[in-house]
Amino acid sequence: MTGTLVPEGGTTRQPIERNDDVVRVRHLVRALALQCRLSLVDQTKLVTAASELARNTLVYGGGGSVSAGLVTRGGRTGVAASFEDSGPGIPDIDLALTDGWTSGGGLGLGLSGARRLVDEFHLETEVGRGTTVSVVKWAR
């Protein structure tokens, strides 16, 4: 991946503080995926990934927010979404990205699964400061 992501048409920010905010994040990301003309399968993958990441923000990060919008790079258009919390952070990133590993009561597929469903995945975390997960899905 080379070049800078260029925002296209502004970014929407939404809180992820309650259970029903996860549903609202799915709606926001679906609207962007439609606008970006992602295929039906890619829409489904992106919205599913967003649902996993929003739930992580809520359950493990203690709440936070999402910023999402369309981006372009090298003539391609995609949907970018960034999930941010100021929770406990992730001490061991490799472990957190392992299928089946969970610190909570989940299946341990949230982070690793979401990573497989998108084209780009960046994770920044600092113990005691919080976690930001940024993803991009490009239109084909």
């Binding site: 259970n19 029903d20 996860v22 549903v23 799915r26 709606h27 679906r30 039906l40 399968v41 829409q43 489904t44 993958k45 919205v47 599913t48 649902s51 996993e52 739930r55 299928d99 989940g106 299946l107 597929l109 949230g110 690793s112 699964g113 979401a114 497989r116 469903l117």
Partner: protein, 126 residues
């Protein structure tokens, strides 16, 4: 208060058709409602229709698997019907293949599976 998914009874089958965007709490409520209704009605089968469901993430996927296990313990079989192709592709990529969950392409096929299992005469002439 989150919405509740209605559980309908048709003979000895409970039918759940998910027509809303599922909140996690709604998913948990549904699981409990179903377990209670199975015991209360003595239902032998459960059909969960996800035709209208646009995404199944790991939380909902786990609910489907858990519900199938719970109902099996309560002497009922669960069949999940109507999964969209994009949902199936996404679930497998996510890492959830729902191995323990019986699926059928539509409601009719799902009901046929349950009829066969409970040893009732098949209503299908074929």
């Amino acid at each position: 208060m989150s919405e509740r998914v209605p559980v309908l009874r048709i003979g000895d089958v409970l039918l759940v058709s998910i027509q809303m965007d599922l909140e996690d709490q709604t998913v948990m409520d549904l699981q409990e409602d179903l377990a209670e209704r199975i015991v209360a009605t003595g239902a032998r089968g459960v059909v969960i229709d996800i035709t209208a469901v646009e995404i199944v993430d790991s939380f909902v996927g786990r609910m489907l698997a858990t519900t199938a296990s719970i109902s099996r313990m309560l002497d009922a079989e669960t069949v999940v019907v109507g999964m969209r192709p994009a949902v199936a592709i996404t679930l497998v990529e996510l890492g959830l293949s729902l191995g323990g969950v019986r699926t059928a392409l539509d409601l009719e096929k799902g009901l046929a599976i349950l009829r066969r299992r409970s040893g009732l005469p098949d209503a299908d002439p074929a």
